[in-house]
């Protein structure tokens, strides 16, 4: 079975832990319990071709005290870059984080998750911005860890991308 390391990266409180909980255990809590350091969870996904064991690295959020540690990213086959679609500050951090991730992992597939999509009234990520990101060739998926919307799709999309990357490497 393929084993792949996936890093959950993003500003603090965007829902990285909640997304992992939703995906792995199908549960959600409204309470915010901030992550310090890292927690690794496993989840097996069945793809059309084969099955894959995802090692999900839920990494502490980035804030003024905490920067993204490059050593956590090492060996990752995929990255979920999570922002909170209701918080402009996290939307603004996206590009910086993306280039940071890219500087360590050039070819690794990255999927951007705009989380908390259930909070439609507070949604701040404009259609324009979303379109722009997609036009730039990025995969952006609106998710809600609360309702589960988009979550399975997002992980499936990353799994597929990792598989493609893996195939193209073997082909070389």
């Amino acid at each position: 079975m393929l084993v792949k390391k996936v890093c959950m990266v993003g500003p603090f409180a965007v829902g990285k832990t909640s997304l992992v909980k939703r995906f792995v255990e199908s549960i959600f809590s409204d309470k915010y319990h901030t992550t310090i350091g890292v927690k690794v969870s496993k989840k097996k996904v069945e793809l059309a071709q084969e099955s894959m064991q995802m090692m999900l690295w839920d990494i502490e959020g980035v804030d003024v005290f905490t920067e993204l540690k490059s050593s956590y990213l090492r060996g990752a086959s995929g990255v979920m870059l999570v922002i909170d679609g209701t918080r402009p500050t996290t939307i603004r951090q996206l590009n910086e984080l993306l280039s940071l991730v890219r500087s360590y992992l050039q070819e690794t597939p990255v999927v951007i998750l705009a989380n908390k999509f259930d909070l439609t009234n507070e949604w701040k990520l404009s259609q324009d911005d979303a379109t722009k990101l997609r036009e730039n060739g990025l995969t952006l998926i609106e998710t809600s860890a609360k309702t589960g919307a988009g979550v399975e799709e997002a992980f499936a999309a990353l799994a597929q991308a990792m598989l493609r990357e893996c195939d193209s490497k073997t082909a070389e």
């Binding site: 350091g37 927690k39 003024v64």
Partner: protein, 720 residues
């Protein structure tokens, strides 16, 4: 190992391994409960007797560790650059869902390579609480700030829009009166037109006291200037200002407010109202003061903000009171940031700021300090300077990194910055004047054409550069149509191919008289007003051309088109519109472009020119030889005429280089089926040289000076 030590290790909740050989660890203490317990939960149980564990085995039980073991190996093989390396905390969960926090460390002991794993769950609670509180706070702050900003900006722009549409001011009363933001609207001469209860509340002004401008706007400016010395300059230039500062109420109680001041202009471009909106942030600051750091950083760029900058520079100065060390402050301001923000949207604007922040930070040396003052303004405090002249080189290096292309909306664009530098001895430093001086130097860099580095000198105080005055006057000139056209004939050297003139714009300045393009086109290019001026020139030239055609004088009119006009997405439509409206035949119009039109996007410029020529319009390449010209690229360009730059003509026929360039340009142009125009021809010798080398047209004082249309029509047509 001694029993005592074994017991101690156990009590401390740690496991100690030594590297036995490649990829294998040997435990030197017995395993604690938690390790066995956790390994079971991970479906790869470690038993008490497993003294030797391979890296793989450990990785199965604790996937996090397989990553850290790579760091550990590096550390062990690296002959101890540091004395240890640690993994940071990670969390494991047992079968019951109980969380354990662990931390691993690689080190050396008695030349043995040691891996130590510690269960830090006990102290974790406290540490977690600190982070949790800080992040909860930061979340709340974020929410408050964003709501407050949103409301303040909306109110500000609603009022400004209302006033700029010339609506009566009393219609604002209802919106403003009940608003929780303080509002003050006043005339530029000082009379207060409108204020509300919230303003009275912040300042606890008694009912009997009237608010007049002198007691409010001037007070604000005086208070703000302490931390924001640039406020005077910004307001004077008629721009919007926003910032936070300390203010004092009637009883001298200290408060923090966020104030925005927006000038509203009339049709003539003069300021007719100041709209000020303020919010009391005192309570908010009190809370965030408890969490020091949170409000010291800019949310977007993650750099220290203005507030942190003041703390830092004050501390630096205090600690250096007895030193003669020289420090320097660099004020970096991006050029045309507002324009980019307007054009590409706020998201792109913030992205740009974030990128610039990281580029700047990456390019300063260790020990220097960078802060984001707000908007598009950054400051860098430089220490340990050897030669003040080096600073300019540092500044220039920063300009280079800033101007690397950046991808906005999928298109790579380049931005430039203006940098001002002020230096002082640390013991002499008054942070406020240091910032003010650096700001003044930056401003002079802007005035002198942007994209440059300027050092502060006292001369700048006495003679600040005058550009912005001009920029403003130009706006008025556009409104009041203070431009006129003159026409300079181009004389044909061979058998006549018809008459040609170049239309040249003049500015009829109310005080300084008739100004030539050299005196204002540069400023117009930079401020963007070249586009409306150029539009006017194009239209007037075509209208004049049509008059000539109607009077039976079939003259070809050449019009200068700036790079900005040509790259404007609407250029082609504008051009066809002008032709339609003026009725001037396209075949009689020629556009003169310069090499700079091809600088940013050559393919796009070429594409536009092809479409323009398809209309029958001719194209001339102006000032050829003065820019980045290479004769090689000439053949790619869809042009009909080449105009040799006047600087080469000036030195004819004596200067070898000018002679060589002129003759080869003529030769090459003819090979490419282009005609050559020599401009700036002033004497017979020049003319003869050019005639001898088959130039097609000449233009210059030797034949004709530029003249008004009336004079042109009365010209006898023998000579051209």
């Amino acid at each position: 190992m001694s029993k005592v030590l074994q017991d101690l290790i156990k009590q401390l909740g740690i496991v100690v391994f030594r590297l036995a050989d490649d990829q294998t660890l040997e435990s030197v203490s017995s395993y604690p409960e938690w390790l066995i317990h956790l390994s079971k939960a991970a479906d790869s149980p470690i038993s008490v007797d497993d003294t030797f564990l391979s890296f793989d085995q450990i990785g199965h039980s604790f996937p996090f560790l397989s990553n850290f073991l790579i760091d550990a190996e590096l550390f062990w093989s690296n002959e101890r650059e540091h004395d240890k390396t640690d993994s940071g905390v990670w969390t494991e969960v047992d079968a019951l869902g109980q969380e354990y926090q662990l931390e691993a460390r690689a080190l050396f002991a008695e030349n043995e390579k040691i891996l130590l794993i510690e269960n830090v769950s006990q102290n974790f609670e406290e540490r977690h609480l600190v982070y949790q509180k800080a992040r909860d706070m930061a979340l709340l702050n974020e929410k408050l700030i964003s709501e407050l900003n949103f409301r303040q900006r909306k109110l500000q722009s609603d009022i400004e829009r209302h006033l700029s549409l010339r609506n009566p001011i009393d219609e604002l009363n209802r919106t403003v009166e009940s608003n929780t933001s303080a509002v003050l609207v006043c005339l530029p001469d000082g009379d207060v037109e409108l204020y509300n209860k919230a303003l009275i509340n912040i300042y606890e002004i008694g009912n009997d006291q009237k608010i007049v401008r002198a007691s409010m706007l001037d007070k604000w400016i005086a208070e703000a200037e302490h931390n924001h010395p640039e406020i005077h300059r910004i307001l004077k230039s008629g721009s919007y200002w926003e910032g936070e500062f300390e203010t004092f109420d009637a009883d001298n109680n200290q408060k923090w407010i966020r104030l925005s001041i927006g000038p509203v202009k009339n049709d003539a471009g003069e300021i007719c109202h100041f709209v000020c909106v303020a919010n009391d942030l005192s309570d908010f600051r009190k809370v965030s003061d408890d969490w020091g750091n949170i409000s010291d950083y800019d949310f977007n760029t993650h750099l220290p903000n203005r507030r942190q900058f003041w703390k830092h520079i004050s501390q630096t100065c205090e600690s250096g009171q007895k030193s003669d060390e020289v420090i320097a402050l660099m004020y970096v301001d991006l050029d045309y940031f507002k324009h980019i923000n307007d054009q590409h949207g706020q998201f792109a604007g913030d992205f740009l700021l974030g990128t610039m922040a990281s580029r700047l930070s990456r390019n300063i040396k260790h020990g220097d300090y960078i802060a984001h003052l707000g908007g598009d303004e950054f400051v860098i405090l430089l220490r340990y300077i050897k030669e003040p002249e080096d600073l300019v080189a540092v500044g220039e290096r920063l300009l280079v990194t800033v101007s690397e292309p950046i991808n906005l909306d999928g298109t790579p664009i380049r931005v430039s910055a203006s940098i001002g530098i002020a230096t002082t001895e640390i013991s002499q430093t008054d942070p406020h004047s240091l910032l003010r001086n650096a700001d003044l130097a930056m401003y002079s860099a802007k005035e002198l054409g942007r994209g440059q580095v300027r050092l502060y000198t006292e001369e700048l105080e006495r003679n600040p550069p005058k550009r912005s005055q001009r920029e403003h006057e130009l706006l008025v000139a556009i409104e009041k149509q203070q431009f006129v056209l003159e026409f300079q004939p181009q004389v044909c050297m061979q058998e006549s191919r018809g008459k040609r003139v170049e239309a040249l714009v003049r500015w009829q300045h109310p005080e300084h008289g008739l100004l030539s393009p050299a005196e204002f086109v540069g400023i117009a290019e930079e401020s963007g007003s070249i586009v409306p001026i150029g539009d006017w020139v194009l239209m007037s030239a075509c209208v004049s051309g049509k008059l000539l055609v109607d009077s039976g004088d079939s003259t070809c009119v050449a019009v200068n088109i700036s790079a900005k006009q040509l790259s404007h997405p609407e250029f082609y439509n504008k051009l066809t519109n002008v032709l339609r409206k003026s009725g001037f035949p396209a075949t009689h119009l020629e556009i003169e472009i310069t090499e700079s039109s091809f600088l940013s996007d050559m393919d796009k410029a070429i594409d536009v020119l092809h479409r323009v020529r398809a209309l029958g319009i001719q194209v001339a390449l102006d000032d050829f030889g003065s820019g980045f010209s290479s004769l090689n690229y000439l053949k790619r360009l869809p042009v009909d005429y080449i105009k040799i730059d006047r600087s080469f003509i000036h030195d004819l026929p004596d200067d070898n280089e000018s002679r060589a360039i002129t003759t080869s340009v003529i030769h090459l142009a003819h090979q490419l089926n282009m005609k050559v125009i020599a401009e700036g021809v002033e004497n017979k010798q020049q003319l003869e040289f050019l005639r001898e080398h088959d130039v097609d047209f000449v233009q210059g004082f030797y034949y004709f000076k530029p003249m008004p249309l009336a004079k042109l029509t009365s010209l006898k047509s023998e000579n051209w």
